[in-house]
Amino acid sequence: MNPLTGKLHIPDAPFRPGQHADYSKVTLPAAGELERPDVLVEERLIRHMPYSMIRVLDTEHRAVGPWNPNLDVETLRQGLRFMLLTRAYDDRMMRAQRQGKLTFYVKSTGEEGFTVAQCLALRPGDMLFTTYRQPAAAIARGAPLVDMMCQCLSNSRDNLRGRQVPTLYSFKEVNFFSISGNVGTQFPQAVGWAMASNYKGEDHIASAWVGEGASAEGDFHYAMTFASVYEAPVILNIVNNQWAISTFQDFAGGEHCPFAARALGYGMPGLRVDGNDFLAVYAATQWAAGRARAGKGATLIELYTYRAESHSSSDDATRYRPVDDWQNWPLGDPILRLKQHLIDLGEWTEERHLALEAELKQAVMDAWQEAVSYGTLEEGPRPPVAAMFEHVYKELPPHLIKQRRQLGVEP
């Protein structure tokens, strides 16, 4: 047997370090091209949708076509603000990581847009099951920056008592569900949450996100199956940012069809959206939420975007992809696109933009000053050692009381 004769098909990334970031294989319909079916449409009538793409902002930054959500300017400005705040937050936190203040950090650069748009299109009572790459969701829901930072610092005011690595937030008060370190697991949990909402006769829905890479986990299939069978009021989102650490999306199935097409096998609408187009994402989410609240069950949304930075602070993307890939991404930067749209509407200026950036940077800096005043992981104060034994169970069982004693800490 000669392995060289083998013809095992192994996908490869379209470009690697030293190569040009070639997007010629990325074929996109023009903005405004795809029709917008009624929210109550039968699934069988929209089976072509996963293969196209919902786009609203055209190359001239105009909002065009039937998916234009016709948002008021306040909402657009609000969206821009949250996106910019997220970017400022990410930048500050990654710097803190580089300075040794955080053990780890994950940036969301280039992906702020869809998260913010979706949060604005949802209601505060809807539960969010996000990934680690969506600080924008906490920000848009109003979680205090200082609290987010304290979580990342594992300091004395960390609301998670030092138990999680940075970015695995949890903010119950704003219906932001605890993020797991295991990818994919929360997708079917969101479906259960949504089923309970139905059961209770409430009209809150759930929204869950999974990376295109993690969509290969069994949990994805469980979520789709349960959502379909029980017609759960949930929006299931695949964030296709093209990469899972060093692995190109083709290794998750992206070579042979769009991820949105997964919906077809469950009789569920599948929408594919330009994830860097604030308006398109808002409109698609609004459509799916309306459908869920109308009792028509779940929608799968593929958010087509690009991971601008390395996977995390532990990663160096230049080892496996070109340095200028994001710069050449055909769908651009969601912030610049929304900004330009607002400017073209006459509702925004370069000056206001700069001023807003400066304001938000300052807000982040102030928050950071306050956060570190509650301690850092390295230098403390940290959460008390006794906290290690709490919340394993609702009440401390005898063996944990004993172990706490053995460690020599008092409650």
């Binding site: 569900f177 259960g192 299939h221 469980y222 394993v392 169970y393």
Partner: protein
Amino acid sequence: MTMAQALNSAMDVMLARDPNVLIFGEDVGYFGGVFRVTEGLQKKYGRNRVFDTPIAEGGIVAAAIGMGVNGLRPVVEIQFCDYIHPAFDQLVSELSRLRYRSGGQFWSPVTVRTPCGGGIHGGQTHSQSPEAVYAHVCGLKTVMPSNPYDAKGMLISAIEDDDPVIFLEPKRLYNGPFAGDPEQQSGRWDAHPKGEVPDGYYTVPLGQAEVVVPGDELTIVGYGTLVHVAVAAAREAGVCAEIIDVRSMMPLDIDTLAASVKKNGRCLIVHEATRTCGYGAELSAQIQEACFWSLKAPIERVTGWDTPYPHAQEWEYFPGKKRVLEAIRRIMEIA
């Protein structure tokens, strides 16, 4: 009542008391479960509260987690504990840790019922006993009743518990007590004192072992079907053994065990699961730690062998009366 009826009654009581209680799993709805444990509940409480699911144990547990977070109290059935493995990640990485990792913000009071153990010629995929694996996972409570009275009271406790509970049901005991002798017919629960089960609400607390038979020559520690085997073997050996039903593997009531072994100085541990890293190892380690100075003989374990549960050699695999008896004699012989 049989044990199956007692479990059914526990769910009936809780469905009636708490509108947040839901029951679901493979074939548990219309049909009432392959062991008939949920029989009649869908009819009584409606399809909204007692229903069938896809064959996706991971999905069942995941959905239950989400429901629990949203205020419900799901009681799910995994058809055989041999099929709980696809849900492993949801159980050990998610359900068990949600309260901890969220700093107490989120938690999900799921009860996972699942039949365990052998003795029904079910072969390697209808006979296993996974208690050690779940007892190793902090954040879960893991329990196993050995009779109808405990089954009902403990299941009600489990459903009311705000922590997740893995509730293991020795399937060989569903319809009658079984002392481990395949040549003999199973006994009848209605002739057993623990077969007397009140119709209404009552609880048996989790985390407490029970001295089933008091005795002062030897302590035998077991749970599930093996409790009945131990009682029969000790009787046949003519040894005045104190027999303790562990009932709860996590948390473990080590005080009751240690008090007995300190008194008796001899200890035999019995279980059906595979030996290496079985729950008996933990029992042995803790009893040794607590009772070292009282021990007159090595602590022994009689367990399933370190092989899959075979179909044809079931009764050579099963730690039956004969093997327990031999161990009792061996331990008692030591001066």
